[in-house]
Symmetry: C2
């Protein structure tokens, strides 16, 4: 299996890895070991959801890490209890617990790079889920990204994001590596499990093809649109020398580009909490028949005056 990240990552750098004990994370751990990575810290959180099996998972991960000569941190949380107190879903409570745990590990280990074992089938499920939720375009997970976990900026890497689950299984089987069945499913919420076990198999059957690979390709396509948008923003030249939006230029741009230019302008001006609704109202300023002022959060205003659109404090 040829995985781009493994080709270029330094064997001597320190990495943390989240290991549930399930097949995917155990595979990634073995791959690191086989590839000769030296300073790996195995981070395992017991979510307290699998009764006696939870303790078995923790023990399995600890022993494996020690056999490889890697450091190991085992945390424990009570996700059900968190759910009761916060009213959060299993998905949200589980994520909050993991983020807090990983942030603690990062602090203790003075290491901010965290490897996670999400693979291509997880990615396809995420793409479908985001699609059903109505996020714009085909959004998936990123192979490398910054994620704020409990106030700490973490560098998250998913080396297996391009690898299909079956290929991971074959890799594990060929080496006769063991893993804990169901360890990683425990924290899947109902929706994730239904997408995996009901929606994708049904869609495969209706379309008579591998819908997972179709979804993966769609996510790539979406990245290419975003690249186009970045290029177009540079070409738009919609700001005047004073950094205000030049109305006549702005007005001629296609709508998705107008929204992107507007969002960048507002963000640069310190406006946070941009949503589709606010952007829609700001966009109306490009129409001279519409009112010339839009209220911004924080008591500020976006105004159209003398052929320019700009933020005004009063």
């Amino acid at each position: 299996m040829k995985i781009p990240w493994f080709e270029q990552a330094s064997r001597r750098r320190k990495f943390m890895i989240g290991v549930s004990g399930g097949m995917d994370s155990v595979a990634l751990l073995h791959m690191l070991h086989e590839a000769g990575f030296r300073k790996v810290i195995v981070c395992h959180l017991d979510h307290g959801l699998r009764g006696n099996s939870s303790a078995g998972d923790s023990k399995f991960v600890s022993l494996l890490a020690k056999a490889m000569g890697y450091g190991v941190i085992v945390g424990k949380s009570n996700v059900r209890c968190m759910m009761k107190h916060t009213g959060d879903s299993l998905e949200t409570a589980g994520r909050t617990a993991r983020h807090a745990f990983f942030a603690d590990c990062a602090k203790e280990q003075r290491c901010r790079t965290l490897l996670l074992a999400h693979h291509a089938d997880d990615q396809a499920e995420t793409v479908l889920w985001n699609l059903l939720r109505g996020s714009l375009g085909f959004r998936g997970m990123s192979e490398e990204t910054e994620i704020n976990m409990a106030g700490r900026e973490m560098h998250v890497v998913r080396p297996l994001l391009g690898v299909r689950k079956n290929d991971i299984r074959d890799w594990m089987d060929a080496r006769r590596h063991a893993w804990r069945e169901d360890a990683s499913n425990a924290v899947n919420d109902v929706v994730r499990n239904r997408i995996r076990n009901e929606a994708i198999p049904l869609l495969d059957d209706i379309a008579k093809r591998d819908v997972t690979s179709v979804l993966l390709r769609s996510a790539e396509t979406d990245d290419t649109w975003r690249n186009l948008l970045d290029w177009a923003k540079m070409r738009a030249s919609a700001l005047d020398p004073q950094g205000r939006i030049h109305l006549r230029t702005f007005r001629e741009l296609p709508s998705v580009l107008r929204n992107a230019v507007m969002a960048d302008y507002l963000r640069a001006g310190g406006v946070v909490q941009l949503d589709r609704d606010l952007l829609g109202r700001c966009d109306l300023l490009s129409d001279v028949h519409q009112p010339a002022v839009v209220n911004l959060p924080g008591g500020r205003f976006l105004k159209r005056r003398q052929g320019r659109i700009f933020i005004d404090e009063s």
Copy 2:
């Protein structure tokens, strides 16, 4: 119900409308009549798929059209027989038969505008189906478009494309209009019916929301990307004064724009049957470390030479 097309269409122009006898097309016919359209030609094709019900559908449609004072053309085809001879699917054979029929009607009536009753739920199913088939982005049907039917260029309008099926049903119920149950489902292929009856209900249930409206919004988003691409093509200036592709400019473009520029260049040069694979190989010419020639269909070549990419006959 406020439908944009009805606001602006001339009541005195001649329109053909495809009427199966099912709820949607009967509703559109009643709307035309209620709105005072004068010259409507009702086109009904009996696909020969519903046995005795087929004759009932034809009779229902004829009587309704005559009662409204509209002209009516009833055609008959044997779709099962076509399938046997061509090996086509029900979907393909049905479409071929309808296209031939509508083209005949158009010739006879000297009218090239055809109204079809596809609605928003049809649109969402189409979007999902195109997604599962792996077409790029969220492709749906267009409200107004040119379609070549059996060699004849037809102007197809779908006034109900933004209207939900339930709203059409309410409109019909409020007026106590009758229709033929199942008349329009007869020519739905298995895939279309499974998307409608299995996939969308399951996805609604998993996501706990109206997935149809999410899909409709996604299709709109996709249109905005296409508008951006059109804008970007104009700005790319990747052709030299002789109309060849300027390598250095071309190379700096984002990939989706390179593909669009290349596709336009090849189409203008008479290359048909462009697919993703051919475009991918042509795109490699922008990398000077790759071979400088790509074979095109029809024994022609795409070449990179002296900072240009161009079609060469030999």
